[in-house]
Symmetry: C2
Subunit: 349 residues, 2 copies
């Protein structure tokens, strides 16, 4: 066991504060990582505040982790000291169920182990995330980060990136498709970048006309203001795919009306109850509403490789860990373009 410095919420709804935590010793299949950067995901805040229930304190949040390998176990062949690596939302899964065998560990039928607040099967208790000096992770959940792109801006790829990449790939978004990305935040801005890089005609769908210029600079071909009924009517039945990144329950019926026959809207943000969906809106046009959560390890690596090839990173604002509570407030107020990333050097201050 080694003690490392971390930032944690010690009790319910308490602000984040320094803490010493234990990390396990490096086992044969483990990779020990010196954390350079960690992204701030809205779900970190939900967990710290126990918004979803079941939070285990102290919570050390953080599942958008980038760092360099410090040490590897005897059985680790694909990583060595100094490698640039990442860890996302999961640190373990059963590896034996159908989902794991298909490379979809996020849907592990025995329950994937989340990077923080998951069940720690090594030390007991629960897992601690990336607002920390170091992390020790099984090699199967360590990702290789391309060296040629801006390292600090790769961290949010591990959650915001894969959460949007996976459904775009799974629902076969392709060149020329008309794709709508609903909501321009941490997820939405990556959805726009990816769909654009895949060759789709990308429409940013937002309530805020003020976001038009930003959306276009991220790669959107046009902007649809969802409060404008006339615009919405003009785009009715025209989308091949909709990626809905809105993080809370809302009325999805106006978006369903935008889908072409046989097209799908995928929810990646809202885990709460959605406003009542009109059955007729699905029935007339054989439309679907689906959900998708993060992505498997194999597809996360594919995404990272794609980002290396296409020079895609997240738009980030760097902070020191000492400013994390202010950053949380700004995330809650949607006042960030588009993701905070913590420079973990600041933890040593």
């Amino acid at each position: 066991m080694s003690e490392v410095k971390a930032y944690a919420a010690h009790a319910e709804k308490e602000n984040l504060k320094p803490l010493d935590i234990e990390r396990r010793n490096v086992k044969a299949t483990d990779v020990e990582i010196d954390i350079l950067y960690c992204g701030v995901c809205h779900s970190d805040i939900h967990t710290v505040n126990d918004d979803w229930g079941g939070a285990k304190y102290p919570v050390v949040p953080g599942h958008e982790i980038v760092g360099r390998v410090l040490n590897v176990g005897d059985k680790v062949k694909n990583f060595k000291e100094g490698d640039l690596v990442g860890v996302g939302c999961m640190v373990d899964s059963c590896q034996t169920c159908d989902s794991c065998k298909e490379g979809l560990e996020q849907y592990c039928e025995n329950g994937a182990i989340m990077t923080y607040d998951g069940k720690d099967e090594h030390l007991g208790g629960h897992t601690f995330g990336g607002y920390s000096e170091k992390i020790v992770v099984d090699k199967e959940f360590v990702l290789s980060i391309p060296e040629n792109i801006d390292i600090k801006a790769t961290a949010p790829l591990l959650c915001a990136g894969i959460t949007t990449w996976s459904p775009l790939q799974h629902w076969n978004v392709k060149k020329g498709d008309k794709v709508g990305v609903i909501g321009l935040g941490g997820l939405g801005h990556m959805g726009v970048k990816f769909a654009s890089a895949m060759g789709a005609h990308v429409v940013m769908i937002t309530t805020s006309p003020s976001k038009s210029d930003d959306a276009k600079s991220l790669g959107a071909d046009s902007v649809l203001i969802s409060k404008d009924e006339k615009q919405m009517e003009e785009h009715a039945n025209s989308f091949d795919f909709l990626l809905n990144t809105v993080p809370v329950g809302h009325d999805t019926n106006p978006y369903i009306a935008l889908l072409k026959r046989d097209a799908t809207m995928v929810m990646v943000g809202a885990i709460e109850p959605l406003d009542p969906i009109h059955g007729g809106g699905l029935i007339i046009g054989r439309k679907s509403v689906a959900g998708s959560v993060i992505g498997g390890i194999k597809e996360t690596q594919e995404m990272l490789d794609f980002c290396g090839e296409h020079n895609i990173t997240c738009d980030v604002e760097m902070i020191d860990i000492q400013n994390i509570n202010d950053a949380y407030e700004r995330v809650v107020n949607s006042d960030v373009k588009y993701r905070f990333v913590i420079d973990m050097k600041s933890l040593k201050n």
Copy 2:
């Protein structure tokens, strides 16, 4: 023009009564049909009562029509006098849009013409349905009915049959799949018969334990009582496909929990708002909720041919047209196994 006898609702929410209506003269591409039987669909009642708004009176309901060809136009090659034929929910569509070209006239992008209360482009006004002596229909919307099965019990195949057949085919239900049919009524009983004939393991999902024996005699392998939380828990994440035939808005979350990863529940009954769907229930497991309406002409013919080969018909209760108002009351009270069919000879009484 010829005058024919029909049964119609003359004014809003009025009971059905006899009426003389006009049918168009037989044009070159038309088929004139002597109606033998017409099924009673719940949507007939919704239209007569103007439950969905926009009903045009007099309403002559009926879109599960079986009869014999009386007369055909010069350009009709595939039907001749005396042929046993059917007409379903549609009598025309643009035939030029993508949906029509793909044989999915029910999703015609210019709007299919419904068999009753649709826009009549021949005589003006609106179309009149099958509670009638005769109907004149374009050859493209006439179906061939197998002679080897019980004729009167084929009528509901034209709506209840195709409404359940189409999604089972579209979502590739196959041998060995675990398929749940939710709700045992006119649609549900056909869903059970079809899914069973396709080789699926069929589970009838119902609130009513009293329906167990009936479901099994229709072909269900087992019955799941949806009010029994323990049973529902045992079947969680186990279904390859769910066909939801419940005709009104309801809480679909317990059913979504039954779906396997990547599986779909298709709504074919409820056109109203559904109770709020929890985003998390879709997201965890990449599940889908979709809708589907009737089916195209090509697949309707395929279904009828399949029924001829597998000796599949609907379970029906025959009535005379003079008893239609009582039948409507019984449909509303779910007191029919499983579809009323009107013997149209009674119209001549």
